[in-house]
Symmetry: C2
Subunit: 616 residues, 2 copies
């Protein structure tokens, strides 16, 4: 490792800072009475060299667009990150002692309540994908900014890590430097590979990464490897750093039994006495990035839906809309999980290929990259089959904690997809997406409303889920119909309504068929398109239920739990309304779409029967 | 590749069979009008050599314990598997033509409705983990049986694959042979690596696998590599097979635009004319495995809970129970995601280390391995933090479609975990687990009931989720109290009850505190422990609501959507009951457990206030 260019005083200064990071980490976790000091201590030199040597970063303006970025994938080392900010003078040493307390934003794992945290971490194995998203955003914006991601060795067991490694390696993404803190010890035992740093190197190399294996407690080695990462060698770089958990305190170092445990108060002085840290230093002078150019004023994401012909599936509405959206607003990007000809995300390639990212069959990386893109100001739309968002629900959950705005478009909803069978049918997607904190759940029934809801999604904060369908759908709406979040449409009504039918997507069309049949028999019903499942218009639905005689029937191409029927039940529960819920009960199977709708009793026949049951 | 031992007639026979598999695949998908014939054709020689040469397998008794096993991870090639069964004489050629129809079990992707399918596939990247589970079961049972897993090249982008590769490589699991069908083409474009078979080889090698790179259309090469996999070289084996999608028909072979498309009826004869397949052959004579020994009669999983002292967390109850269960029934196995000292799964190591599997931080592989173990008759318990089951929800969803019986134990539920913050808090786990088809959701409030519910889980079919908590919990129950699925406990009641409180876990204890306070003020309330959230005792709850004056308050350490409050709302909606739902509204943060329960209004104070609101 070349060290010729590094002066002795710089080495000493970085080592001093590293030791001060250790001291801060120990003090703050002991004050908190919980936390992971030994996981911080192994990475002290890494953090010091990354932040105080490698990064061009303005700690006093951490959201500056041209900053290099840092993602703490091993989020339990949060006190280390907070310690860095104390060395920059952004936090005081007193602030650090409020770690993990209710009134402090210095949470147990980092969240974007803090301005210097782009995305929440703490669920392991996601940070590299987030970092790739940040790095892609810099590329799109034309900034020469690098993203640094600090991973634990234990978390490299997570498949998400290898999805990200494969993706960045394949794309030759050259503005990402990952650092793996190989401290050998996990929570309850040794990691899979212990200190076999060469094994880590081989694995990263096999996916096309540049690898430097270093002594993670050698400032010289780390600086040299970080500099190599910045050099023009093509592709992403990883530093595999051999470290010791608890490094710096003899009775913590490389010892079992200290994961996630602070040093007790009565032993803190003993621990600190072993660490050679200058008691007082001036704040670190940051290396600043270039000032960003005056931001281009982005357009509002806006366009007019096409007048779809009858028979366009809602997923086709997505394809039309996302292409227009990309043209309307330069912040919009689209990602897809190698089903772009099914979700129709492929239209973006025609509109602007630089803003389409093929994620291949790797949904966890897909969503976590989108979170990174969103943290850098992009408006990502992520599409795949609705069923497969089940696979990255933790990444969606973490994106909600990260308070980023991302849009998820799940196609092939429900049994109405037909012959492909249950593995491809999204039947719990509404349930899981409703359960995301602050989420919005949209469910268009024709291609026109789908287009409008895509536009709406782009303007909506938080996690937005848009459910599209595979089957052809009659066109219901005109292109000037508005679809505000938190409302619904009344499609059929009369003064004589004996029941209220609530559907969305394919079941709305079944409800409309049932309406026709019932009307022919002199039974009047009201029909609602619940295109916005969350937030739900509770007062509006209650009023409609009363107007329809207090008899309500919901029908959905989804399992009963957590879907439309339950959402409506929570709204109507204290009103004395009579509610009948039609949903997919039991495991479905392959078959024709219509056969399945009938067999699982969510078709017009079943709706009619339900209405006759309640009005008789 | 050594071919000396393979006779010319054997080569011809296997090649003939491979071509017949192509013919069947083409015919059946054209008859169905949908499906993936070209994905079958690339793997025809692979399937022929695996089933008709390598495997010791009784196709007429596919669940025989000593059989070698086959998992079709690339589930969209289902017609190929069905074609194999036709060559064995298990299915007729007419059966094949019912592919994907409602009345046939030959679904679009394989499911265990068919006796020769151990676990459903179709959501990609899970089959290798399932195969590892099957292979582990054979090891536990002492059978010399091998598992073969056929993967597509596209699906190796899934992180789940690399979790499985890492795990099996680390464990040196020597009875697994994976075959990667590198046919270059994905659904909408070329895969990440195209025909770079050496790259695949390097990646598997870096994780400790034995690799053979072969021409996947050479029967000789495949036989040689399959034989090498069976030899005593230690560790798992993978065959990287270079193939062509649509192989055998010139205008399908290696062509874009044919993924997931059957040959039109009017071109079928043209296609078949290109394939040299004998029109009629006798059924393949299988190579049978040894007869299994007379099965040991397993005990019923049964034990008596310990009389826990006040202050034992429910997760400690899990630890005590799982160790007893392992002792009581040899089918029980435990898996944990490197948090065994937090979930208390570590107790199993003391009871029988051979039945504990450390899954490391890789939850997708963990759950899919459990599905494989269950498919082979084991009773797996999988533990990690409840929040992290979000990460493998697709694997859980697929396990439900596989109709296997697995038990998931999620600890650290809710905001009551305190300082670690939102990334570690399970707040949507009840919602997602309720949405699983046929699932059971259990939620003990003390260590004694937790023990009983662990015993119950072991006897319960399907996916069982048991939610445990981090905080200490007062002991409520005696060790002889039964906890049947589908019931609840009434802990406080009187003839004068003005409201019904429904809680579980930490909120039950808050409800009991509220009861005391309200009673001191002369307000009588009924308190229910809803230890079984699904299936819910609807009639019982309705009767209790009426008995308590029609005022119901639910309180849960979970987001509002899909949790206890919604489950109760669906039960009470048509009864005219007044329901107040207390749940965690908005993103939580770090803090002390009690502070958080109070701030998010699910503590005794909030319950009291809610009761006073409804009874005044």
């Amino acid at each position: 490792m070349a060290t010729a260019t590094l002066s002795g005083s710089l080495v000493k200064d970085l080592q001093d800072r590293a030791n001060r990071l250790r001291v801060h980490s120990l003090r703050s976790t002991t004050a908190a009475g919980s936390g992971h000091p030994t996981s911080c201590m192994s990475a002290a030199e890494i953090a010091a060299t990354v932040f105080f040597h490698a990064m061009r970063y303005d700690p006093h303006d951490p959201r500056k667009a041209t900053n290099d970025r840092f993602v703490l994938s091993k989020g339990h080392a949060a006190p280390l990150l907070y310690a860095v900010m104390a060395e920059f003078g952004v936090l005081s040493e007193d602030d650090l002692l409020d770690l993990r307390s209710f009134d402090s934003d210095l949470e147990g794992h980092p969240t974007p309540r803090l301005p210097f945290v782009d995305a929440a971490t703490g669920s392991l194995g996601q940070g590299l994908s987030v970092g790739i998203g940040l790095a892609l955003a810099a590329k799109l914006d034309g900034f020469d900014a690098r993203t640094y991601v600090l991973l634990g060795d234990g978390e490299t067991a997570e498949g998400n890590v290898w999805e990200a490694v494969a993706w960045a390696g394949h794309r030759r993404l050259d503005n990402v430097t990952a650092i793996v803190d190989c401290n050998r010890l996990g929570q309850s035992q040794e990691t899979m590979y212990g200190h076999d740093v060469d094994g880590y190197a081989r694995r990263f190399e096999s996916f096309g990464w540049n690898v430097d294996v270093v002594d993670g407690h050698s400032v010289e080695d780390l600086v040299s490897a970080l500099d190599a990462g910045k050099s023009d060698r093509g592709g992403p770089s990883v530093i595999v750093a051999r470290t010791f958990k608890g490094k710096g305190v003899s009775w913590l170092e490389d010892r079992d039994g200290w994961h996630g445990k602070p040093v007790p108060e009565d032993r803190l002085d003993d621990a600190l006495a072993e660490i050679e840290a200058p008691p007082k230093l001036d704040p670190v002078e940051p290396k600043l990035p270039p000032e960003p150019p005056t931001p281009v004023v982005d357009l509002e994401p806006s366009f007019t839906p096409s007048p779809h012909k009858d028979g366009d599936a809602t997923r086709r509405g997505y394809g039309d809309a996302i292409a227009k959206l990309v043209a309307a607003d330069r912040r919009v990007v689209a990602l897809d999980g190698e089903v772009k000809n099914s979700t129709y995300a492929e239209t973006v390639i025609g509109a602007d290929p630089s803003r389409f990212f093929e994620g291949y069959i790797a949904e966890q990386n897909l969503v976590a990259m989108a979170a990174g893109l969103a943290a850098a100001g992009k408006i990502p739309f992520v599409s795949t089959f609705g069923a497969f968002f089940a696979r990255c629900f933790d990444q969606i959950r973490m994106a909600a904690i990260s308070q980023v705005d991302i849009n998820l478009v799940g196609s092939h909803a429900g049994i109405s997809i037909g012959e492909d069978g249950p593995s491809q049918m999204a039947l719990e997607d509404i349930a899981i997406m409703r359960a995301v904190a602050g989420s919005t759940v949209l469910y268009p029934s024709d291609a026109v409303s789908c287009e409008r809801l895509v536009e709406t999604a782009a303007r909506t904060k938080g996690i937005v889920y848009l459910r599209t369908g595979r089957p052809v759908a009659p066109t219901i709406y005109s292109t000037d119909e508005p679809f505000p979040v938190g409302e619904f449409k009344v499609l059929r009504e009369s003064a004589a309504d004996a029941a209220l039918l609530i559907g969305a997507g394919v079941t709305l069309h079944e409800a409309l068929k049932a309406y026709d049949q019932l009307r022919a028999d002199g039974i009047h019903v009201r029909v609602i398109d619940l295109y916005c499942v969350k937030p739900i218009d509770a007062d509006g639905l209650r009023a409609q239920a009363v107007a329809a005689g207090g008899n309500v029937v919901t029908v959905e191409d989804h399992y009963p739990e957590g879907g439309i029927g339950e959402a409506v039940a929570t709204v109507l529960v204290s009103t004395g309304t009579k509610l009948t819920r039609l949903a997919v009960e039991g495991l479905p199977r392959s078959g024709k779409s219509d056969e399945l709708l009938h067999a699982f009793r969510i078709d017009a026949v079943a709706i009619e029967r339900a209405v006759r049951g309640v009005v008789s």
